[in-house]
């Protein structure tokens, strides 16, 4: 009897020791994987920062610490074309975001709160438009922009960006509105409140965070757009940031201004990264809400 008890106790001890050992190995591997992923996602941006603060020959030596020489940044902020593109991009992205949020909120209220027979069809149509390849509408868009007299003007981009941002904001805001309990508005409906008042007085005050995260996503979408910005803007003074950076080049392969491009890259990405990190959780819920329930 005692013999059996002792034997089972030792096996238990041995098994728990091996369990602990394997757990530690597992934790070690997972920790290593976390480290690898972090280096993989963060190193390129870090390297852009490092490269943007080196000068001349330093740039071609692979030292891993920044040299903290801000000459490129200084020349960048004395460059009227780059500053102009920052202003243009901000104007285009802010206007597009504002218009998309207003249109999207109105449509999302109908799709999220009012029952009508064509609702599924409208949702499908919106989803289909949002996955449109932009090049497909390019010829018609060219004609439209000329007809509106907007060719080579930043406001042309606001018009064209609505193609992607309005369906996108509508889709996300619809899922957000559906998450609010309907009981919120029941009393108002019984009192005979109009839909417009329900949206403005009951839902809107609650939707600040949803609008913020949707707005940031729309802002990033328009800030990063390239194809329309390349096609509908002709002169340097009216370009947006991605095209300005995309077209930065030296007179030859060997004079390629990498330091300057890296400084510009760091500058235009920094606000996005800060915004995204601040609103991290909301952005993730905005991005995934539409996809999971769709």
């Amino acid at each position: 009897m005692a013999d059996v008890a002792i034997r089972s106790a030792t096996t238990r001890r041995r098994s728990s020791a091996s369990y602990r050992f394997w757990r530690r190995v597992r934790q070690g591997f997972l920790g290593l994987a976390v480290l690898v992923v972090l280096v993989y996602v963060l190193f390129p941006y870090y390297w852009a920062i490092v490269s943007s603060t080196k000068q001349g020959a330093e740039l071609y030596q692979n030292a891993f610490v920044p040299a903290l020489n801000f000459t490129y940044y200084r020349s960048l902020f004395e460059n009227p074309v780059f500053l102009g593109s920052l202003v243009n991009s901000t104007f285009v992205a802010v206007s597009t975001t504002a218009i998309s949020l207003i249109l999207g909120l109105s449509a999302a209220y109908a799709l999220g709160r009012i029952d009508f027979p064509q609702r599924r069809f409208v949702l499908m149509a919106i989803l289909m438009i949002s996955i449109f390849p932009q090049v497909v509408v390019l010829s018609g868009m060219f004609e439209l922009i000329n007809w509106l007299g907007l060719y080579n003007r930043p406001s042309a981009l606001v018009v064209t960006y609505l193609l992607a941002t309005v369906p996108f904001t509508t889709w996300i805001l619809t899922t957000f509105i559906r998450e609010f309990p309907r009981e919120l508005e029941e009393a108002a409906i019984i009192d005979g409140c109009s839909h417009f008042r329900i949206l403005m007085k009951i839902l809107l005050p609650l939707m600040g965070p949803s609008l913020a995260s949707t707005g940031i996503l729309a802002f990033i979408l328009s800030w990063n757009e390239f194809l329309f910005a390349l096609t509908f803007i002709l002169t340097d003074a009216n370009r947006t940031v991605p095209v300005a950076i995309g077209l930065l080049g030296g007179s030859s392969r060997y004079e390629y201004p990498f330091g300057q491009i890296m400084a510009a890259s760091v500058t235009v990405t920094l606000p996005l990264i800060i915004l995204v990190l601040i609103f991290q959780r909301r952005i993730v819920s905005g991005l995934t809400a539409g996809a999971i329930k769709g």
Binding site: L42, I131, P133, I292
Partner: protein, 297 residues
């Protein structure tokens, strides 16, 4: 009475949808129909009002152009390989973040960085890192003794497609991770506890429980990514605008339209892009449906 109320509700719904509908008519439906219309004309971009109808000549010109089939191949190769890698890598990173380990919050935040960086900027950064003479990647390769000279990543015609896929994987895997992670967090924990108690090994738990339950979430993510990859323009354009080894259907259509000013042929090419994307979308949705009905049976 109730039908009148219902009708009033329908009218209210359409009233709220009117602004959206008008804007979509203006920037989506109208330009799309004009593109299809121009595809049957011989118009040029410098004077779009001067044209005559030419039937399907433009489509014949596009479909008999070996350049077109070359860019179709590039696009399909790019889409299938990059989406496949992103799915596997995204699943792995999502499973990693889902584990209770120190640093998972940090990874979840850090993963948003490549996603937020503009495509143009990400392309420029990787182009610099992969520079054949001064790039940090080649310095590492030489430093580690893997090769005694740097590799011409972007100048080599057989490597450049790999570079494009590599950059795309870096940029868009975060999106996959977020979607798969959201799917993972919806899975019922009891099943895993039960399997754990029953002593089922980890790989089998993953293969027989996690993966089948996760399939719908992965399917949606793959659909979104594939349609996005099919229309890729900026990455290849910024890396090397005229390199035919990485030219995509979007670049081809835009070149015909803008650079050669061929409004008719360019519109026909754009219409073909539309058909290609629609075909792949139907294909993927069909596979997902089949899968779902098979799972339900």
């Amino acid at each position: 009475m109730s039908t009148r109320l219902a009708r009033r509700e329908h009218r209210a719904a359409w009233l709220f949808l009117t602004p959206l509908a008008l804007v979509m008519l203006l920037v989506a439906v109208w330009p799309l129909s004009r593109t299809v219309f121009f595809a049957f004309t011989n118009a040029y971009l410098d004077d779009p009002t001067n044209y005559s109808m030419v039937g399907i000549d433009n489509f014949i010109e596009v479909l008999t152009d070996s350049g077109w089939w070359h860019v179709v191949r590039n696009t399909l190769v790019f889409t299938s390989i990059s989406v496949a890698i992103e799915t596997v890598l995204g699943l792995a990173i999502a499973l990693l973040i889902n584990e209770a380990i120190p640093g998972r919050g940090l990874v979840r935040a850090a993963i948003l960085v490549p996603w937020a960086i503009p495509v143009v900027v990400a392309t420029k950064i990787w182009d610099w890192m992969l520079n054949d003479q001064f790039g940090v990647i080649n310095a590492l390769i030489v430093g580690l003794g893997l090769s005694d000279h740097g590799i011409a990543w972007t100048a080599n015609s057989s490597l450049i497609m790999g570079v494009v896929i590599f950059i795309d994987v870096w940029m868009t895997t975060p999106f996959m991770v977020l979607l798969i992670l959201a799917g993972l967090q919806l899975l019922p924990g009891e099943i895993f506890e039960a399997a754990h108690v029953d002593g089922i090994p980890a790989w089998k738990r993953f293969w027989s429980i996690t993966l089948p339950l996760l399939t719908p979430a992965i399917g949606v993510a793959v659909l979104f990514r594939a349609l996005d990859a099919l229309r890729m323009f900026d990455l290849a354009y910024v890396l090397s605008a005229s390199n035919e080894n990485i030219m995509t259907v979007s670049i081809y259509a835009r070149d015909r339209l803008i650079s050669y000013q061929e409004l008719g042929v360019g519109s026909a090419a754009a219409s073909c892009v539309f058909l290609l994307v629609a075909f792949v979308a139907i294909l993927i949705i069909g596979v997902l449906r089949l899968d779902r009905s098979a799972g339900a049976a």
